[in-house]
Symmetry: C2
Subunit: 198 residues, 2 copies
């Protein structure tokens, strides 16, 4: 009297989504099957398509469909400023301030020893290669003001100093313990203006 | 400087899942791409597979891969008792009580005039055809004790009475306003034992 296996598999597979436990996976599966099969079809294709087409920009590490993303390829951005953020959502938050016209580097994470995420997992050597292009004059460290974000910024500032590169940290206008993603654009803009040298 | 279109499409497509807003769709997309591409592949296939393989059992209306599901095909269940529930999760809850050995009918919803869900949308005529098989002696109405579930049970009891069929309602051991899915098995078992005739 088990559930049909393809239903069980769907429920199990939905649990790969962050924040989705057994109960909500079940609800999602029934919802798709009963009320939104077309949405399900679209989702199935969108996942397959995204996995096939998206890769990391060789310059900023953000997701892109080209080798170099539009932003990195743009001649309108100042290549002497490089802003390092944890995640693509943080980059979006920075852009929404309209207070920054340089380029970005997306770490796709933060140092987190407890989760086994160290400098190697975040490929810091790729960032170091990126900042050594001869154009970057200042690296703005815009990781979150969480413990892990702070540790990441500190670690990177040491690496950059060892290479004779100037780094700065956006100001602590962002609430202590807060995350960029949930901060309003004005506060983030101010934090950017008040960045201090490491 | 827009996001790559296949990323935007993935984020948009994830919103077809119940309870997933723009923020969490974004988080889910980045998580799949960055941390769990294999999970994403699995999910894409599982959705496609489930949509292709699952259909409604012609007897109980539950999801199944066969024309008639295992439970309906079993000779160990009492065909004189038919328990009507709203959703597959409710059927699972009933089964967990081990207090019922009859058969089921899954409405796949409840009457909800505000959402445009009436007797036609729930295909009550299919249920009426089902109960007219000459074997069913009693229809146990086990919809939720929400307003909509109560209205559904009441409506069905009238339909059944008009056909000279006995119907009963599980006892209000389930807390008023509560849903079966979130009620412990012992309470549901008692509610089943204390069912009263409509
Ligand atoms: Zn780029
Ligand atoms: Zn069945």
């Amino acid at each position: 009297m088990a559930r049909p296996s393809s239903l069980d598999e769907l429920i199990e597979a939905l649990r790969c989504l962050p924040g989705v436990g057994p109960k909500s996976a079940q609800r999602m599966a029934y919802h798709l099957l009963q009320h939104n099969p077309r949405g399900g079809e679209r989702l199935s294709l969108a996942i397959a398509h995204a996995l096939k087409n998206l890769r990391h920009c060789i310059r900023c590490n953000n997701f892109t469909e080209a080798e170099v993303c539009e932003r990195c390829a743009s001649s309108k951005r100042d290549p002497s400023l490089l802003c390092v953020v944890e995640m693509p959502v943080d980059l979006n938050t920075m852009e929404q301030t309209h207070a920054f016209n340089g380029l970005y580097y997306v770490l796709m994470g933060r140092l987190s020893p407890l989760d086994g995420i160290g400098p190697r997992e975040l490929a810091f050597e790729r960032l170091m290669a990126r900042v050594g292009d001869g154009l970057v004059k200042e690296v703005i460290l815009a990781t979150n003001f969480t413990n892990e974000g702070e540790a990441t910024a500190h670690y990177l500032s040491e690496l950059l100093r060892a290479r004779g590169l100037k780094s700065s940290r956006i100001a602590r206008g962002v609430p202590v313990g807060g995350e960029l993603e949930f901060t309003d654009a004005a506060t983030v803009a101010q934090a950017l203006r008040e960045r201090r040298e490491y």
